[in-house]
């Protein structure tokens, strides 16, 4: 796999902060500068902090931690 930086669950909010994102009251990831703007996954879904699994390049692609998204990632970053 390409270069990876790993993070534990405890660091999720800090990692999001690094990319100017935060979490709204319902647990969805939002733009820090515009908290009404929820971030979208590649499938066009909002992303809950519990299912946030990472980031990769592109227009800041947010990775979800469900099995299907991880299989897709495994194929993309062989």
């Amino acid at each position: 796999m390409k270069d990876i930086i790993l993070f534990e669950e405890s660091a999720k909010r800090d990692i999001l902060d690094f990319f100017d994102k935060s979490v709204d009251e319902e647990g969805f990831i939002v733009e820090k500068n515009n908290p009404t703007q929820r971030v979208l996954s590649m499938d066009g879904d909002w992303i809950e902090i519990n299912s946030f699994a990472g980031l990769r390049k592109g227009s800041m692609i947010f990775i979800k931690g469900d099995l299907i998204s991880l299989i897709d990632l495994a194929d993309r970053v062989k």
Partner: protein, 267 residues
């Protein structure tokens, strides 16, 4: 300067070949600010322990790593899942099933099957797979659930692949013919009996009666019976004849050479 070198410089980590280390980020009040583990080659950074200047620099380094160096930022437990998935996906028995069915079943079904084969591996290990099943269902719906159930029960290699094999022997075979039957199998799996060579006539009858009971319990008005091979076709026909004297139903039989599908419409 890549992100490894930048981190090395920032925290004065003077280990040779730091680039071979894996960077792990956490945020707690237990770990040290920086921990270099030569044994498992990891460099742990605890964000909670950083001074504000250091945190700002780490933010810049990680930001740049993702945006400019095409680095992947991934939760550690997701990496474990990916690594585990790749291992199990590569297993020859799983690859055989996937390769055989690749251009024969719909692409989304193939993806659902691939995820289901992984679920089956975890199930066999004794793990809790409910969250995996939920992920498959969320993406692929009821059809994904049925594929997952059929896969776990071994029906893809023991039934669906032999079904294709048998049907494709016919000179006028088309993929559409196979897909017609395949789609019924997938859609109506819960209300179907799949007859195997090892089943006696008595066992076939018992299975059908059991499925009829289930169908009636949930107010489903039908039960399907599938069979491949001449002996199974004959077995099913005999059992249906027997059942007709005992139960009330309308039957619809589609038989082509060595495959049979019977739909019993229950009254």
């Amino acid at each position: 300067m890549g992100f490894f070198d930048k981190l090395k410089s920032l925290f004065n980590v003077n280990k040779v070949e730091i680039r071979l280390f894996e960077v792990h980020i956490n945020s707690n009040n237990v770990s040290k600010k920086i921990e270099c583990n030569e044994g498992n080659k990891t460099l742990n950074i605890n964000l909670q322990e950083l001074e504000s200047g250091e945190r700002k620099k780490v933010k810049q380094i990680i930001n740049s790593a993702v945006k400019d160096e095409d680095c992947l930022l991934l939760e550690d437990k997701s990496k474990k899942i990916i690594d585990d998935f790749k291992l199990k996906d590569k297993k020859s028995e799983n690859q055989e099933i996937l390769n055989y069915l690749k251009d024969k079943i719909p692409p989304d079904d193939h993806k659902a099957l691939r995820a289901s084969l992984y679920l089956r591996e975890k199930f066999r290990e004794g793990g809790d797979v409910s969250h995996l099943k939920r992920d498959i269902m969320e993406k692929y719906g009821e059809r994904g659930k049925n594929i997952s159930n059929l896969c776990t029960a071994g029906y893809f290699e023991n039934w669906i692949i032999p079904l294709y094999g048998e049907m494709s022997k016919e000179p006028d075979f088309t993929l559409d013919e196979f897909l017609k039957v395949y789609n019924i199998v997938i859609k109506e799996a819960a209300f179907s009996v799949f007859v195997h060579r090892e089943m006696s006539g008595g066992e076939v009858k018992k299975a059908i009666l059991g499925k009829i009971e289930t169908s009636e319990k949930y107010n489903i008005k039908f039960t399907n019976i599938h069979g491949i091979g001449k002996s199974n076709v004959k077995k099913i026909r005999n059992v249906i004849m027997e059942l007709e004297t005992e139960r009330d139903f309308k039957k619809r039989i589609e038989e082509k050479n060595s495959t049979i599908m019977v739909r019993l419409n229950l009254t």
